[in-house]
């Protein structure tokens, strides 16, 4: 074949090869656009459903802290007042004063439904903070009931015939009257970020689950990072290459692909049934998630160690460092950013996990904010699952809001991983 001939052949195929390349690029762009579109759909639906949950309706009432109702024995002792004081009764009195026209028993019951069933506890806390309120009449913003909140936010349609609505015309008239007097407004929903779970949507918050998640992740990190890094260092730097280490390597790779529920079953059998640890504790959750994230961390750490060039090892050994000194003084610091990235990605994975926690009892209704790793607690994704399954309408928006909080956590963690890599990673 002459030179000319082969040039002709190349030219003849050129257009086709360019076209193939353009097509391939186009496929890539389509794939990215498609995934972006799905992501956008997800965000639009979650944020569209959930952003209203960051606001909550409050009602201003002129509350009389009547000693006759709050402290009938006249003891002045906060402990007795806490237990026997009729705080909800005080609120009912304030509502009756605000709507003197309501006299029928059934109507009164509906009227009391304007404010949250937990509003009495808000008053109690108010009185706790300032005992001087006793006996005075004060204007106080109390949390409105979740159904009132739904009407104000437009989630309950006023146009639907009255019989089909949970909120009746009478109540809607009261709401409009309160709005006209500037006694009803939407404010930032602090409760959502400070309270534990509750069956009253307006009293429910994400804080208990967030604290549970933090405890669980601390246990996971404290256990899985040192163990994972140590395992990686040994396997990569010290272990001889033989059948046995090959076997271990295959197993670690396999473990990374085991469905997480299996780790939950293991946790139930070993930690709870054999070691007798308490159910629903972040300690056990952390242990189970440690098992789950270990393979991820080991694999990432080994990759990080592998990427350190051999010349650095040889130089260290060449000037007389022991093998251990070589690893800990030279190789490990260079591999650390990669290891940390792996650890953070493992943690992010653990943060979003629910299935293994189901088996060890962390899917539970827990009101009190956990105070330690042995207190019963739940975690963010479980809280989302529990709210998604609640009948009350107001939990729909709270579910989406909780998803947003979880996503914010995840984005922060992943951003941290990227930042660490960008800042500390060395390239050779």
């Amino acid at each position: 074949m002459s030179n000319q001939e082969s040039m002709n052949r190349v030219r003849a195929g050129l257009a086709r090869r360019y076209a193939a390349e353009r097509r391939f690029r186009m496929y890539g762009v389509i794939a990215i656009l498609l995934s972006l579109a799905f992501l956008l759909m997800l965000f639009v639906s979650i944020i569209g459903n959930g952003y209203t949950a960051f606001q909550q309706t409050y009602i201003k009432l002129d509350v009389n802290f009547d000693p006759a109702m709050l402290d009938p024995t006249g003891s002045g002792d906060m402990k007795i007042i806490n237990r026997t004081g009729d705080f909800q009764g005080v609120i009912k009195q304030a509502l009756r004063d605000a709507f003197p026209g309501v006299t029928k028993r059934g109507d009164k019951r509906n009227l009391y439904g304007l404010v949250s069933g937990g509003a009495g506890f808000e008053l109690r806390d108010r009185l706790h903070a300032d005992p001087g309120l006793m006996g005075r009449t004060v204007s106080i913003w109390v949390t409105a009931d979740a159904e009132i909140d739904m009407v104000v936010k437009g989630h309950i349609d006023r146009e639907v015939p009255e019989d089909d609505r949970r909120v009746k015309d009478q109540t809607i008239a009261w709401i409009d009257a309160l709005v006209a007097e500037d006694r009803l407004e939407k404010r930032f929903n602090i409760t959502f970020f400070t309270a534990g779970d509750s069956r009253n949507p307006e009293q429910a918050g994400i804080w208990g689950a967030a604290v549970g998640s933090v405890y669980t992740l601390i246990v996971t990190l404290v256990l899985s990072f040192p163990i994972g890094v140590a395992a990686a260092i040994y396997l990569e730097e010290f272990a001889p290459t033989n059948r046995f280490t090959d076997f271990i390597e295959v197993n670690i790779n396999n473990l990374a692909a085991v469905p997480s529920i299996v780790f939950g079953l293991l946790g139930l059998a070993v930690f709870i049934n054999f070691f007798g640890m308490p159910r629903s504790a972040p300690m056990v959750g952390g242990l189970v998630l440690t098992l789950m994230t270990l393979p991820t961390i080991i694999i990432a750490s080994r990759a990080a160690l592998k990427s350190v060039p051999p010349s650095i090892r040889e130089a260290a050994l060449g000037i007389g460092a022991s093998k251990m000194q070589m690893v800990f003084h030279h190789v490990l610091p260079l591999a650390m950013p990669g290891m940390l990235t792996g650890a953070i990605i493992g943690m992010a994975q653990a943060l979003g996990e629910t299935a293994p926690l189901l088996m060890i009892g962390m899917v539970a209704f827990i009101v009190d904010i956990p105070g330690g790793v042995f207190d019963p607690s739940t975690v963010l994704p479980v809280q989302i699952y529990l709210w998604a399954d609640s009948p009350e309408r107001a939990f729909v928006e709270r579910t989406s809001a909780a998803i947003m909080v979880l996503l914010a956590f995840l984005v922060t963690m992943n951003a941290l991983a990227v930042l660490l890599r960008k800042r500390f990673e060395k390239r050779w």
């Binding site: 949970r166 069956r199 070691f275 504790a281 209704f365 009101v367 009190d368 790793v373």
Partner: protein
């Protein structure tokens, strides 16, 4: 390196000190039915806020799973109370006895209705239990007596000429759900025994009878929509031709979007479930481990809160959540038994 090994040691030490921590428990541990869960959690929250005790911890494990955990033994690592959307079975009771859980206190808390509902955009269905059985059973009686054929019906009109000419499409809970068990037992079996020769079979061959009456078709007409009742409600609102099966409290909360079908001429309403005329309703229970009452603080208080009139009474806060209260005399009886911790005999 030093800090790492220190952390490691600390973590391992913490892991093994867990036993010490588990020795005493200062909160009530409750497991059991997902149907009772919405009611038990409300009571627990009230109890936690108004007493000096901690708020009980409630896990939703399903009735069967709850009883299994409950019957595993006596001691703080085992739950104190289990909720159930059906009565404890003899086999479960025996298992409890075998594991040393001798005295069990049964508390009936009220009733729950199972609604068959569709979107408000479509006309209301007027069903009978027999319609439900014929539309949803895997095998239905053929032309001859004693003959069973694979369910041939594809539209409601074929099942019963008075029903609309719409494809049979029912969204309901999966087999793991207590709601599904109760639906099979109350609605399907209720319709099934209206057919004489099947009814006669009950005495002769109970197993075969149950297999016919309780087996739901798997050819796509019954769609398992997961345990999440909210999801079923959303799907019904989007698809006016579908029917859904779920707990009454979800129907009540979403009355602006969906409507309950009448069953045997009775609509699923608060009053009709309370007086027992609505056929697809069931009692709900919780069971207390008597051996724990004095060792775990708060159990007595929790029982008292649950059985108080302000909780389970006609106008109590549980009725607002969709629990159908028992008649007054029955409440008084169970409240007394609960307060005296009268053990269950089986």
């Amino acid at each position: 390196m030093k800090t790492t090994s220190l952390l490691l040691t600390a973590a391992i030490a913490a892991a093994f000190s867990a036993n010490v921590n588990a020795a005493g428990r200062d909160y009530v541990s409750i497991v059991g039915s997902s149907t009772v869960y919405p009611f038990a959690t409300v009571v627990a929250e009230h109890f936690g806020k108004t007493s000096e005790y901690k708020t009980p911890k409630i896990e939703s494990t399903g009735s069967g799973g709850g009883l299994k955990l409950f019957c595993a033994g006596v001691g703080v690592e085992h739950p104190d109370i289990t909720n159930a959307s059906r009565r404890i079975k003899k086999s479960e009771y025996d298992q409890c006895q075998g594991n040393g859980v001798k005295d069990i206190v049964e508390v009936k808390i009220g009733y729950d209705g199972i609604a068959v509902a569709n979107s408000k955009e479509a006309p209301r269905f007027e069903l009978t239990r027999k319609d439900l059985f014929l539309a949803l059973a895997k095998q239905v009686p053929g032309e001859k007596e004693g003959e069973l054929i694979d369910n041939p019906y594809t539209t409601w009109k074929q099942v019963n000429a008075s029903l609309p000419d719409i494809k049979i499409e029912v969204l309901g809970p999966p087999p793991t759900s207590g709601t599904r068990d109760a639906f099979a037992e109350l609605a399907m079996e209720g319709g099934c025994k209206k057919i004489d020769w099947i009814h006669d079979m009950k005495k002769k061959d109970k197993k075969a009878y149950k297999a016919i009456c309780h087996t739901i078709r798997e050819d796509g007409a019954y769609i398992e929509a997961g345990e999440n009742d909210n999801l079923i409600v959303q799907k019904l609102a989007a698809n006016p031709n579908a029917l859904g099966v779920f707990g009454f409290s979800f129907l009540e909360e979403n009355a602006d979007k969906i409507q309950g079908s009448t069953v045997d001429g009775i609509a699923p309403e608060f009053d009709s479930i309370a007086d027992g005329s609505y056929p697809v309703s069931r009692p709900l229970f919780f069971y207390v481990k008597k051996a724990h009452v004095d060792s775990v603080p708060g159990i007595r208080g929790y029982i008292a809160e649950f059985t108080s009139e302000k909780a389970w009474g006609d106008e109590g806060y549980l009725s607002e959540r969709g629990l159908i209260p028992m008649p007054k005399e029955e409440r008084a009886k169970f409240a007394k038994d609960a307060a005296d911790l009268t053990p269950l005999a089986m």
